[in-house]
């Protein structure tokens, strides 16, 4: 049967689509879907090192969530993730919003500041971590040196060695590193607001606070959706800064422990303290993954609803 030109076109079109779609799908399946599924499967087995042992059903999950030795460590770490999430939500995203507003108003030197705020984001997290570790060194770090210089000797502390300040030190290092990102996203969001709206509000005599609260904040809601969702995912996957600055153990005595560190220690072992348990590690990874997927989706849906079309 002869092929009509139209059919030939459709076929050509379809093969073109297939040509474009198949490689990324294959790539994603191989490097994303398959590992997730296999990690999920691993979690149901007992492991000796990386050798798979017997099928143990949900025992690993039970251990992670309720086991007398593992569960307290996991919940302690989880609460630190929550603390980091809330703190970063307020300081990093909130601060980013205010910085964006300042830059939006184009003060003197705003072009320079727009770049300066974003520069730390480009740096490697490992470098930022080491840098802040040096800054916070209790004896020669610039933070304590600066406090001594201005006579605030009593404020100087071994920041990373004190269980009441260590997690906050990591959070602030994270803020320094990443605040440029929410700033930039919010700035872009603000620049999308039609200037008539802001001018009209000003003509109506709103003050700065009302303008921010009632006009700007609701209108940058799409930016907020993206930033909060990303922060949520980032906060529960937090690893690099704690690893570099506090070490695999969440030093001192677990006060900086987060789920990422617990996972790494459990799955791969900590050379200087513990041995690996791949089954428990996989179970924890699966739980973290499910938690993030479920709650990030709910968060996104909820944030989407408050976005306004204009």
């Amino acid at each position: 049967m002869p092929v009509s030109p139209k059919q030939a076109r459709t076929w050509k079109h379809r093969s073109w689509v297939a040509f474009l779609v198949v490689p990324p799908i294959a790539f994603m399946s191989l490097f994303v879907v398959y590992p997730i599924l296999s990690a999920f499967a691993y979690a149901f087995y007992e492991w000796q090192g990386l050798a798979r042992g017997e099928f143990v059903g949900l025992a690993n999950f039970q251990q992670v969530l309720f086991g007398p030795t593992m569960a307290p460590v996991v919940w302690n770490a989880f609460l630190h993730n929550v603390q980091a999430l809330i703190a970063l939500m307020i300081i990093q995203n909130g601060g980013g919003f205010l910085l964006a507003w300042l830059l939006y108003k184009e003060p003197f030197g705003f072009r320079f500041h727009r770049i300066a705020v974003f520069v730390p984001v480009v740096l490697s997290t490992i470098i930022v971590g080491f840098l802040w570790k040096l800054f916070l060194n209790p004896n020669f770090g610039i933070v304590n040196q600066a406090l001594y210089a201005v006579g605030l000797d009593s404020w100087a502390k071994p920041w990373l060695g004190d269980s009441s300040t260590a997690l906050w030190a990591l959070i602030l290092a994270n803020v320094w590193h990443f605040i440029g990102f929410p700033t930039l996203v919010y700035l872009a969001g603000m620049q999308r607001i039609p200037s008539e709206i802001i001018e009209a509000a000003r003509l109506d005599g709103t003050n700065e606070w009302q303008l921010l609260k009632n006009i700007v904040w609701p209108l940058v809601a799409p930016s907020t959706t993206i930033l909060f969702t990303l922060l949520f995912i980032g906060a529960f996957n937090w690893f690099e800064i704690p690893y570099v600055m506090a070490g695999l153990d969440g030093s001192p005595f677990g006060s900086t422990d987060v789920l990422g560190l617990v996972f790494y220690r459990t799955a791969f072992g900590n050379q200087s303290a513990s041995i690996q348990n791949f089954g428990l590690g996989s179970a924890l990874a699966t739980l973290i993954f499910l938690f993030i997927v479920v709650f990030a989706s709910m968060l996104t849906l909820w944030l989407r609803r408050r976005e306004i079309q204009f």
Partner: protein
């Protein structure tokens, strides 16, 4: 998302391992057997290449390819390769619990005095470190003895007019004198978790004593024992002489403090000495075992064995691999190891040149075990995890020695039957 990265790393590693095999296959000459040998000692590459040359002089038909990986990734890279049925022919492995994760699944070839007669050159404790508890078989030839002791700066001691201390009271006096002369007595800090365990081993072993170790192993005593609690209390007391703000001083910072000659003592491992000397060759160093409670008590360092050389159970070059491992068990090798790497070989009857290494070798002979690593690093929460975090907490003033001891005991009791009363 961590699992993705992990998978990716594993893939890369497996690819690399496959590539290695491929290359080793093509590079081998006609009748030559080429062995691959993996290690985490990147810094000892030149030494091992030299050793391989010496081995080849006697075994011209065998060549050995040495490959080193970053220590923090080594265990992961190795177990991934082994799980995939690959891996090198000869493997540098760790000891105790970390050996078991590789030996228990059957990745390593068990050895005995028939296949490797040179095992007779080793003390029993060294062989025990490379033995799988489940089957009682030996899986590797031990390579290094490490001890926890106090390293001191001879020049600082002389300038301050103090002698290495014998008793704990002497140690307190030495610390006071150094402090009064504005020298930091101990360079140690506690911010890096595992440093807390080394500090306990280096300073408290003599006060704990071999009897305490025997009682713990026999289940006659646990960690709430007064010997342990009192030793912790002494540690809490001496910590006022650690580096300023020691809770925030991490491992590299405390090493630097000592290497720069700004602190009198460093409570740590024998493995530090070579490293300190390399960084500052002008340092005049001495070592002493942990001080005793009262004169006449036995002075002890805490000893463990670092790891060993094992043969891959799946290798098809078993004979050649065993030949090489046997060579690594000879006094000839042990002598080179000790004199060149300034690390103590556990092989009996070696000739040590460097006087400081000689002294450390002597101290290692009558030691007690580095308790948690040797006896309680097989299950979670390991004794090491518990000791490190609870001593760290105690030294930060957040709990008493009694509380620290009770917490350590409670954790170990979750799996160690004798403590479950």
């Amino acid at each position: 998302m961590r699992e993705l990265k992990m998978k990716l790393t594993r893939r890369i590693v497996m690819g690399a391992a496959a590539a290695c095999l491929l290359f080793s296959g093509t590079a081998a000459m006609a009748q030559q057997t080429e062995l691959t040998f993996w290690s985490w000692r990147q810094e000892d590459k030149a030494f091992y290449q030299d050793i391989i040359k010496k081995f080849q002089e006697k075994n011209p038909d065998i060549s050995v390819k040495f490959e080193a990986f970053a220590p923090e990734n080594y265990q992961t890279i190795l177990s991934t390769a082994l799980a995939a049925g690959r891996g090198p022919d000869v493997i540098q492995v760790r000891a105790y619990g970390n050996l078991e994760t590789i030996a228990a699944p059957g990745y390593l070839l068990p050895i005995d005095k028939q296949t490797v007669p040179e095992l007779a050159n080793f003390p029993d404790a060294a062989l025990a470190a490379e033995t799988l508890r489940a089957d009682g078989k030996i899986y590797a030839v031990p390579f290094a003895t490490q001890t926890m002791l106090v390293i001191y700066n001879n020049k600082i001691f002389k300038d301050a007019g103090v002698q290495p201390p014998q008793t704990w009271d002497d140690l307190v006096k030495v610390s006071q004198t150094l402090k009064s002369k504005n020298v930091t007595p101990f360079a140690n800090g506690t911010a890096t978790a595992w440093q807390n365990e080394t500090i306990v081993g280096a300073l408290l072993s003599s006060m704990l004593g071999k009897d305490f170790e025997a009682d713990i192993v026999a289940g006659k005593a646990d960690f709430t024992d007064p010997r342990f609690v009192n030793a912790l209390a002494k540690l809490k007391d001496i910590s006022q002489y650690f580096a300023p703000n020691f809770t925030g001083v991490d491992y590299p910072s405390s090493q630097q403090l000592f290497v720069a000659g700004r602190a009198g003592m460093f409570a740590g491992g024998s493995f530090e000495v070579a490293n300190f000397k390399k960084q500052n060759p002008s340092l005049d160093l001495g070592v002493f075992a942990s001080p005793v409670q009262k004169a006449g008590d036995e002075r002890l360092v805490a000893r463990f064995y670092d790891g060993g050389y094992a043969v891959n159970a799946k290798t098809d070059k078993k004979d050649a691999a065993i030949k090489f491992v046997r060579f690594l068990a000879t006094p000839e090798y042990g002598t080179l190891f000790t004199n060149q790497l300034k690390n103590i070989s556990p092989i009996k009857g070696i000739k040590v040149e460097d006087p400081l290494t000689q002294e450390m070798t002597k101290l290692a002979d009558g030691a007690m075990s580095y308790l948690m690593l040797v006896h309680f690093r097989y299950q979670e929460p390991s004794g090491s995890v518990l000791l490190q975090s609870n001593v760290q907490k105690m030294l930060a003033g957040q709990q008493t020695p009694e509380q620290a001891a009770a917490e350590i005991n409670k954790g170990i009791a979750t799996y160690y039957k004798p403590f479950q009363k």
